[in-house]
């Protein structure tokens, strides 16, 4: 309990809450002219494209019924998106995928719509059906962004979006939002989309939350691991997000990207009120990062990119170490074996993933204090005999009740039938503790004469669970 409180006491200073977000970051760093740009999608696009930052191409802006009468929908490309400029919660967004032979447009779920239908959709938007308090709105018609192939098996229907929070011209945290069946192809976390944290150094996903069920490890449909997905054009995304923050004047902003399979990343939205759930997707507090980023003079975009990568990267390798806790070892390693009565022996061991259990040489086992057990075994088994088939060995073992008799000895915990290069042998197994590359393992070790072999110990699969093996690593 005290430990929990200690952790909370330390960690709470790393997390950004809504109170501090507003008073310390939104209020001082986002002034109203900048917020006006962010709140108007048409204005956002004008400002960004004036500075050569890519945005989806605008096909039309329809402000009134009169505008609607003068627009030639036949001149539009076959695929486009209709959206309200001041829409609430993604309402009123319709994606047109194609146009069929009869001149009808194809929408999601294969629905067809004719010219009158499209005009009716636009009138609904103008009338304010999807805006706050039914106020009059403007229709924005844009090119449709075709989802990048990197996300093909990760998202359901819609296009995933990448969001980056920029503070003081440094991208501080990121999230990939994957639409799911539950969210009906939309990328809103509260509708059930997946939010995956991003390692800022390399643009790979780290942890992920599902809007409604907390941390997840696999995607719902294809069961793919949500961590380790590489986001294409990562450095470009960092660059555009810094530039967007600069030209809009937002000192603390969320920049939302869609990634087109041909044109690359494009900014679809700026938000002057960054959400704080992004901390859960990254499993890291944003406040600590903002404090790190504050006060650094970032003169160039390049420096901002470098700082983002250096300061806020490295989550992935640390993540794997933290999760696996595994030591990397080579094929030959020094091993320290702890025997009975505090006897210790150090020798070179062969790491053998082809063997299932660990074997140790008889003479070494005697040095470690197992002489009594070995003599007991010899009195029952005689001189160790090599068999040629399992059945033969089992027959002898059953007839002479080897296992029962051997296990009368306190040191012998089990017996094993082990295949070796020249045949099959019956061996006794004792419990032994050993230390490999600083990690201690308690293993069941079988005893055999390895007198002709160069390594007196062979460590098998069962005792290698705490290690990762790197064949190129030399023992030290």
């Amino acid at each position: 309990m005290i430990d929990l409180l200690r952790r909370i006491g330390k960690n709470r200073k790393t997390v950004l809450g809504l109170n501090e977000r507003y008073l310390e970051y939104i209020r001082p760093y986002n002034l109203s002219p900048a917020i006006e740009i962010a709140d108007d999608k048409v204005l956002t696009k004008e400002v960004l494209s004036a500075h050569d930052i890519p945005v989806p191409e605008t096909i039309a802006v329809i402000r009134s019924y009169d505008d609607l009468n003068h627009i030639d929908f036949d001149a539009f490309p076959s695929s486009f998106v209709i959206k309200p400029v001041h829409g609430v919660r993604g309402g009123g967004v319709e994606i047109i995928y194609n146009r069929d032979k009869n001149g009808e447009w194809i929408m999601s779920r294969g629905r067809r719509i004719d010219l009158e239908g499209i005009k009716s959709l636009c009138r609904d938007i103008i009338d304010g059906r999807y805006s706050l308090h039914q106020e009059r709105d403007t229709v924005l018609v844009e090119e449709r962004i075709k989802s990048h192939k990197a996300f093909r098996y990760y998202s359901y229907k819609g296009t995933p979006d990448v969001r980056v929070i920029v503070f003081n011209n440094i991208p501080v945290i990121g999230m990939l939002r994957l639409p799911t069946e539950q969210s009906d192809g939309r990328a809103n976390l509260d509708l059930g989309a997946i939010g995956a944290g991003i390692d800022m150094a390399v643009g790979k996903t780290t942890f992920a939350i599902s809007g409604k069920s907390g941390l997840i490890e696999k995607t719902p449909k294809y069961n793919l691991p949500v961590s380790g997905l590489r986001i294409p054009y990562w450095t470009k995304i960092l660059r555009y997000s810094i530039e967007a923050s600069k030209v809009s004047g937002l000192g603390f902003a969320t920049i939302d990207f869609l990634i087109d399979k041909e044109k690359g990343p494009m900014i679809v939205e700026l938000n002057a009120r960054p959400g704080i759930s992004i901390q859960l997707a990254n499993q890291v507090g944003l406040r600590a990062r903002l404090k790190k980023a504050a006060g650094i003079k970032v003169k160039t975009t390049e420096k901002g990119i470098r700082l983002a990568k250096d300061l806020f990267g490295g989550e992935i390798e640390e993540g794997i170490e933290a999760i696996s806790g595994k030591q990397v070892i080579g094929l030959i390693e020094n091993v320290k074996i702890f025997g009975k009565d505090e006897k210790e022996e150090v020798t070179k061991a062969k790491i053998d993933t082809g063997a299932s259990s660990t074997s140790i040489d008889e003479k070494l086992a005697i040095k470690l204090g197992y002489e009594d057990a070995i003599n007991h075994a010899r009195s029952i088994l005689g001189e160790s005999k090599v068999y040629f088939s399992r059945d033969e060995i089992k027959k002898d073992a059953n007839e002479q009740k080897w296992e029962e008799r051997l296990e009368e000895h306190p040191d012998i915990v089990d017996t094993a039938i082990i295949k070796q290069s020249n045949g099959i042998t019956y061996r006794i197994t004792v419990e032994m503790e050993f230390e490999l590359s600083g990690t201690r393992v308690i293993g069941l070790v079988n005893i055999v004469s390895r007198s002709g072999l160069s390594y007196k110990v062979l460590i098998g699969k069962k005792d290698l669970k705490k290690f990762l093996i790197d064949p190129s690593k030399k023992s030290t």
Binding site: L4, R7, I8, K10, N11, R12, T14, V15, G17, L18, N19, E20, L23, E24, V88, R89, D124, D127, R129, L132, H133, Q134, G214, L215, Q279, L280, Q283, V284, G285, G314, E315, E318, A322
Partner: protein, 246 residues
Amino acid sequence: MEFLISILERNLTPQEIVIIQNSFFLIVSLPIVTTLTGFMRHVIGLKSLSVYAPIVVTFAFYQVGFIDADADSNFFRGLFFGLILYVIVFLTSSFTYSLIKPLRMHYIPKTTLVMISVSIVIIFTIILGTLFFDRKGLIYLDIFPLIMIVTLSDTFVSTLSRKSFEQTSVIGLQTLIIGILAYGFLSLREVRSFALEYTAVLILILIVINFYIGRFVGLRLTEYFRFSDILLKEPDDRPSKKNRKK
């Protein structure tokens, strides 16, 4: 406050003094309710539909309960009828709004339609309640708190137009909790007598509290739960790059 009332004393009967005391108390109670609303929002993390909604809940409950001078039974009567009315208004508003939401209509007429449905349901509630239950309670309901509660349907509709029914219900419930807490607090005789006796002190205290809450940047109580995953992590389990090199 006593001092202010004493200025009027010469011209007023004792009965009139009680009335004016009650009015003055209710007026200074307004900032008490909004202070509590602010505290619940920024320190605890409970949202309310608007600043106005908890005030309505508090005073509607207060007035609904205020039938005679017997203050102890007043509290529970207010809670009982207030809760019934609040739930009825919320459910009726949500239901009617869900029916007319798809219609292409302007906002105010839409809200009016919702309010009409709420009025009808409230009238029937009073009739049925009087026929089958406590006679005294519903007939003696003051019209003013009744109107206040009915106007909450406007607040409900405006939230429903932005958020889902589930989200609105949750916030509606939180508003109710804040209102009931404020109502319970103001129903305490000690609070009433303190407010009337030391009005200036009370206002000073409220100003100080609001300056404090207004600049509060700590985590809200609900955020401790929301971010428990991060908060409960071993602080050192992710060494920074600097530490690892050592």
